[in-house]
Each structure stands twice: as C-alpha cells, then as structure tokens.
C-alpha cells in the first residue's frame, strides 16, 4: 500500500542515487512512481533498472494529457522499458485520446491510472468540478485506477462509493504536502504515494519502514 515517488534529488542534499532509495525501500514498497524530472535526467532506462533492482511495480507518471497518437507513442516507449502502469489525465477526454491510450496500453500490458483530482489548490479551479465525471469515465473504461489526493478524504470516500472495488485508488499529497500517513488509506485509498518525506530523509530505508508500520497501524485502527 506504499508507493514511493522517485523525484530527484535523493537524500537531504542529493547524496543518494535513485537505486540507493529503491534498494533501501524495496522490502516495504508495493511500487515506485517515476515522473518527468527523473526521466529527463536519466532517460527511460531508469525504469528497467529500477525493475532490475526491486521486484516492485513501476508507475510512469508523466500526467499525460495529449492527443491519442502521442499517448500511444509514449505508451509504446515506456512499455519497452518494462513499466507496469502509466498515469494520464482524465481531463483530456475520451475520444481520440484516452480511448486510444487504453487500447494501446492493453496491447502493451500497461495498467492505466487516470487523474481524477490533484493535491494543489489549482485543482479546484477546473479539474475538481468534473471529479465525479472523471471517476465515472475511469469506471466505464475499466481502467486499473484513479488518482485522488490525500488532502481530500471526502473525494476519496466518494470515489470508493462510486467505484466500489472496481478501481484502485492512488493517493498522493502525504508528508511534505501535508496529509498524515495512513489518512488516505483510512478514507478508502488502496495506495499512498509518498515521495520527499522518504526520499529526502537521511535514512530513507528507516523512514519507509516507519511509514509502512504507521500505515498498518492506521488501517487497523480505522477499521476497528
């Protein structure tokens, strides 16, 4: 239930490599989220190298929001580097965009995760106005999951109500961005995406284990 977001730099002052972080956290991480900053620095080969370092899943998070042809091209490229899942914006719309991505992703055995809300304040200006439509779009398409941030537990609960167990819910915005570890899981998320709180720590492995234990404890408490 812990997904570690791998955005550079790593360690309090960049003293670790991404592979140090992956090795140290592998035992407790369900998977890793890799975004543009890391891929622009290291190229897509970082995805397959993470896969070789730890058996966890790798989610490529470019927050894709383009026309179908570009999405298909990117899906093909990341699948060549053994990515397991890709994050795109539901906001871009189904026709000639997300539909094409979903079709290609199924061919490449990539899970698709659509953004339904985000953690920053600007998300309320446009995206959140369409939150239920975006969750329903994801559900209708039968994609793997949605992104709903931890600082909006009401939206996590709503997504769970709408989708039942038919969508995995990924929740960023924990730690440095403000929400408590375990709080999104208690609201109904399947995975908490945690980055800097772990990756910039002087002891990322210890921090990740601490987070994992806190998640387990929170879930035990909130379910009782």
């Amino acid at each position: 239930m812990l997904v570690v977001a791998l955005d550079p730099p790593f360690g309090p002052s960049g003293e670790y490599s991404v592979y140090d972080i992956v090795e140290e956290t592998c035992e407790v991480a369900y998977g890793y989220k890799v975004g543009l900053p890391l891929v622009l620095e290291q190229g897509l080969k970082v995805v397959s190298e993470i896969k070789s370092t730890c058996k966890g899943r790798v989610i490529v998070d470019f927050k894709l929001a383009d026309i179908g042809d570009i999405l298909v091209n990117v899906a093909e490229k990341i699948s060549r580097y053994r990515a397991d899942a890709v994050i795109a914006h539901g906001f871009i719309g189904l026709r000639d965009s997300i539909d094409k991505l979903v079709e290609a992703a199924s061919r490449y055995k990539l899970d698709v995760i659509l953004v339904a809300s985000m953690s920053h304040r600007g998300s309320e200006e446009f995206i959140d106005k369409h939150f239920e439509e975006l969750v329903n779009l994801s559900l209708d398409l039968g994609v793997h999951g949605v992104v709903v941030p931890a600082n909006k537990p009401g939206l996590i609960r709503r997504a769970r109500q709408i989708a039942g167990n038919n969508l995995r819910i990924y929740s960023p915005g924990i730690g440095v961005q403000g929400a408590e570890v375990g709080s999104a899981l208690c609201a109904g998320a399947d995975y908490e995406i945690i980055g800097r709180y772990i990756t910039r720590s002087p002891k990322p492995g210890e921090k990740a284990r601490e987070v994992f234990e806190k998640q387990v404890e929170s879930v035990r408490k909130c379910q009782s």
Copy 2:
C-alpha cells in the same frame, strides 16, 4: 508563422534524422515544437542541438499538467538546454501550479504557452467547456500565448477577440489532422503548428516551402 512539430519518425519510413528536417526547413520555419516522443528517444540535448542547427525558436511541448514543484523542476531542466518556450495545460489551474511555472519561467527566460483547446474530439468533453476561462486566465497572467486548434476557427476568432494582441495564438491540427494550411492564420492565429504533413514527406524542405508560400497566399487573400 510556421512552427514545425518534430515528432518522430521523420521521412515516409524514418529515413531522416531530426536534424535533416531542421536543416531543410530552417529557412521558412519560425520555430520548432519538440514533444515527449522525441525527448524520450534522444534526451533533452536534442533541444540545444536543434538550436545549434537553426536559429529558430524551440518550444518544448510536454503539455505539462502537474503540481508546481514538478513544473518548476522541468522548466529549470529545459531552460538548461536553451529551450525558448514551454507548453502547459491551463486546466491544471493557477494556484500552486501555473503560478509557480510562470514565476520560474520568467526567471529562466522561458515563454509560457497554455493550452486553451485541443484538436481531438475528447477536447469537447471537459477542456472546451472552460475555453473562455482558460483564455482569460492566460491573459490575466500575461503569458506569451495560447494553443487553439485549427479545426476550431470559431474558437481562434473568440480567443483573438478576448485577447486582442496580448496573446500569441498557436494552432495545431493542420494537414494530417484535417485543417487546411493557412486556415488558422485567416481565423486569427499567429502560428500554425504543422508536423507530419512536412516531417513525413519524402521532401520535407520542399513541402515546408510549399506550406509557407500557401500561408503567405492565404493571409493575403483573407485579409483582402
């Protein structure tokens, strides 16, 4: 008024390099648009190498749609490779996202261009419902320009009405995507973004000159 979109492959069956295309079209291209497919293949160094091949402007088009921290990180990286402008989605919202990007971009001397509408059918599902808000957001922020597709000449005219000469209008969707060369310019766009029609041609240089001449002729006709 011609921006060439550099999405691989180049030539009818990939026989050209991106630099072949840039050299052949440099004379008539105002600038080049570089997206994720090319950068994932070649790394960001392709941006500075294009700049060394031709004096035209390079617009990095990742259609950014993320939280401020990630946008700032990406802006910093692309500016290091001498990019002139960056395209982001207006729908991501101002607060803690576009505001941060605009601030960083000004520091890095990068122009910001915001997507206000797109050419694919899915754009009508969410984005186009906020078209005027997105143009007004861009105008209020004083960014360099907006993207409005050529297959929606009514929206180009509307953007020009709203923004006067305070926003540059970039228009994709010409050629392979359906709109006629020159049609977006006649509707009020400043630049037509043309990709495959030129880059997959057996003679990209000739095709680009033909496009440029057709643009000049269209503008002359529609202004008379």
